[in-house]
Symmetry: C2
Subunit: 224 residues, 2 copies
């Protein structure tokens, strides 16, 4: 009984790691689709998102079954509840990667992102993928230091997001309103993706230390 119990707990963690790997890969490929205007890659990201949704539903069912059968308390109970929360973060990351790919598809064969923002958006995409890789590490190791590091690395995402806003609003924008709308949404998708990766890390800090990493809501809607 005890053995099955720990296996079930471990399998929740495995499910989270699998989700995080999938959405990390998805945001990387979505960035490629966006910057290269690659329709095939975009379609791949869009159709793959259902796997993430299925994994989440499966994880939720297993968490509820575990609560019902094993009735965990203390740390184990918090682990299960935290898993539910993390899986919601990761499911949302899958949606956001899909949105980036959907934008690439919508503008194909054109490019949604103009050349002068290519480098900034590439850095956002790579950073988002790297933050998710760090989240995977945190899920596997439960390392609080690594989790806190994620938060610091996310500062760069906010900076990149501000750079996009400044570029949009400095009065020299030459790419028209449609592209301004596209770039606004793209910036928001990457920033929210990063916020959810940070959220996974913060939940781990709380689980391990019992202390909130800081106040929640990294979401900064507007650049100062």
């Amino acid at each position: 009984m005890r053995e099955a119990y720990h296996e079930e707990l471990a399998s929740l963690s495995d499910g989270l790691v699998e989700m995080a790997r999938l959405v990390g890969s998805a945001i990387g490929r979505a960035t490629t689709a966006l910057l290269d205007a690659d329709l095939q890659v975009a379609e791949g990201v869009i159709s793959a998102d259902v796997q993430v949704d299925d994994l989440q539903r499966d994880l939720e069912e297993r968490a509820i079954a575990l609560l019902a059968r094993q009735q965990p308390v203390a740390t184990d109970l918090r682990t299960v509840v935290t898993s539910l929360r993390m899986s919601a973060d990761l499911e949302r990351c899958g949606d956001l990667a899909r949105h980036v790919a959907q934008l690439a598809r919508l503008r194909y064969p054109g490019h949604a992102v103009p050349g002068d923002l290519h480098r900034t958006v590439l850095e956002m995409g790579q950073l988002a993928q790297r933050l998710m890789a760090q989240a995977v590490e945190v899920l596997v190791t439960r390392d609080v230091e690594a989790a806190l590091q994620l938060e610091q690395d996310d500062d760069r995402m906010d900076e990149l997001h501000r750079m996009i806003f400044r570029h949009l609003m400095d009065g020299r924008w030459q790419h028209g309103v449609e592209t301004a709308v596209d770039v606004t949404l793209v910036g928001r998708y990457y920033e929210r993706f990063a916020d959810h990766a940070v959220s996974v890390a913060r939940r781990m800090v709380f689980l391990v230390t019992g202390e909130h990493a800081d106040e929640y809501t990294a979401d900064t809607p507007f650049a100062p």
Copy 2:
């Protein structure tokens, strides 16, 4: 023991109702702040959001305590887990109302929304508030018909969101890039607010009937 148990379950539901009422009021006031460029109202919405965050944290703690002490199974267990999910939806609605108010504050004493979109944004704001009022009703009555109605009413939000995109992209936009960016974000905030209200209703349908109201993810990032 049993009586305390049912009181605790009921108090989770009360907490959700309180959160839903607060965020419904917040989105209404945020819309006023946005359309009237009313700084005082905006500040009120922004500073009140912490109440919603506190309620969510409190609800989460009480849910975990209930799971540990009472070890509910079957429907009661699903009710507790669903409450956790609903509280995350409602907490996010509070953030989104705050974002609308923050935009009003950022552009004060100017108006973030130009006159020709005033009516559309007003309707989005009113609809968002109404959807949340319906969600409150669903939380109180557990009425599946009312929950399904919410989904239909949300179609109008998607339509309004598409109207904004069409207006932005019809080539006659006269308000510059900054305002285009503002309006893009505002449209997204209202749409996401509505999605979370619908999500609360769907979770209730699942809780009551055991069937998913439909596939999830009402989130439609781009207008066709």
